[in-house]
Every structure is written in structure tokens, then in C-alpha cells.
């Protein structure tokens, strides 16, 4: 079972954990990406995310399919937030369950690493004195 979702509302990592809970599972791994208050020593006010939503959902689905198949997961959830996200709030939640912990750890790591490479979502860091699209320039 996979649950792929993009929203402008707050994410709920606790609900995601419950979604992947399963009788046959011996391990659940949850990654929560939260908004940090600084980057390279510079104070960040908040982040702003935008996406090419149709394709983002498709790419997130591919990640969940691949991870589920490769690590024999019971369930995987990938939720991403868009719009303005304040400091400390959740920007992304990835949760998965498997029979044993090793598979869940590896699948979760694969999912967040691949999301950062392939899913068309863009993050802008907003500072007191300006803003920067993250990773745009070398």
C-alpha cells in the first residue's frame, strides 16, 4: 500500500506512522524533513516550495513503487508540503514498514535521496534581506 500526497496544509508525521503500521511489520522508519532556521550561518525566515504537481506526484509514485518492490515493504507514505513553510514545521514526511528494520532504513534513505534528485519540487530560502532558489547554482 502506498500513499502519495502533496498539500499546502500542515503535514502530520504521526498520522503517517499510523498509516504504515501493519501486523506483519517488525520495523517502521519515518523521515521528517523540517525547516531549519539558518543556512551557512545566515538566518532563514521561512521556506517557500512550489511544484510541477502532476509530474511530482508521478515521480513520487515511481519512488514508492521501486522502494516497495526492492525492499519488500508493507507500506510506504510520501507526503510533501508546498507554499510557505515556517521554521520547525514539517516539509516532507516519508514513512515505511517492513518485516525487519534493515529494509525499512534502506528504503527510507533511498526514497528521500531520490526525491531530492528527481521530484520536480523547488525550495526557496527567504532571508531578512532577500531570497535564494536552493541548489540552482553551482
Amino acid at each position: 500500500m502506498e500513499d502519495i500526497f502533496i498539500t499546502n496544509d500542515r503535514l502530520d508525521s504521526k498520522a503517517c506512522t499510523e498509516t504504515v503500521t501493519y501486523p506483519g511489520a517488525g520495523g517502521i522508519v519515518v523521515f521528517v524533513g523540517t525547516v531549519r532556521n539558518q543556512t551557512k550561518g545566515k538566518t532563514v525566515k521561512h521556506l517557500e516550495f512550489e511544484s510541477y504537481e502532476k509530474m511530482a506526484l508521478k515521480e513520487m509514485q515511481k519512488i514508492a513503487d521501486e522502494a516497495t518492490e526492492r525492499w519488500s515493504l508493507y507500506k510506504m507514505v510520501i507526503h510533501h508540503r508546498l507554499g510557505l513553510v515556517p521554521i520547525e514545521e514539517e516539509a516532507v514526511v516519508i514513512a515505511c514498514s517492513s518485516a525487519h528494520r534493515k529494509e525499512a532504513f534502506e528504503a527510507c534513505q533511498y526514497a528521500i535521496d531520490t526525491l531530492k534528485e528527481t521530484v520536480p519540487i523547488w525550495k526557496k530560502e527567504v532571508f531578512e534581506d532577500g531570497e535564494v532558489w536552493v541548489s540552482a547554482h553551482p
Binding site: Y52, K54, K58, L115, V119, W122, S135
Partner: protein
């Protein structure tokens, strides 16, 4: 033919809008569209990468464009 190219993230700032129309002769490839856009907007060459998506899938530079394609510029992604 005319192709509408939609932009996101920093690509929107570079073209100063949500989309740009480029004229190409028939059977032009993504690589040729890329060249044309880079000439028109030199700031694209400063990016870490610039990928193209057609109909919500990544495509390579040898993809031949069709006027009905939904063409989207994908500057370096930074989700998560």
C-alpha cells in the same frame, strides 16, 4: 511551429514569466529548443542543470518535439 514552454522555480525568474513561446521549424528536438532558449536567456547557462519534461516525464535532448506536447523547464530540483 510554436512551442509553449512552461517554467518553474528559478527558470520563471530567468524568463520573467510563467511561460515563453519559442518558434522552431518542424521536427525540432529538445536539444535545439535548449540552444534557442540559452541564446535568448544567457542566465540559463549559469544553472547547475536544466532538464526538460514533456507530458510530465523527463526527456533527453534527442526527443523530437510535437506542437501538442506539454513542455516544461526543470531547473535543479530541491524538494525535501
Amino acid at each position: 511551429m510554436e512551442i509553449e514552454v512552461v517554467a518553474f522555480g528559478i527558470a520563471k525568474d530567468i524568463i520573467k514569466g510563467k511561460q515563453v513561446s519559442i518558434s522552431l521549424s518542424d521536427n525540432f528536438t529538445v536539444g535545439e529548443a535548449r540552444k534557442k532558449l540559452s541564446e535568448q536567456y544567457p542566465d540559463f547557462s549559469k544553472l547547475t542543470s536544466l532538464r526538460f519534461a514533456v507530458n510530465a516525464d523527463y526527456v533527453q535532448d534527442d526527443y523530437v518535439l510535437n506542437p501538442k506536447d506539454e513542455v516544461v523547464l526543470i531547473p535543479p530540483v530541491s524538494g525535501g
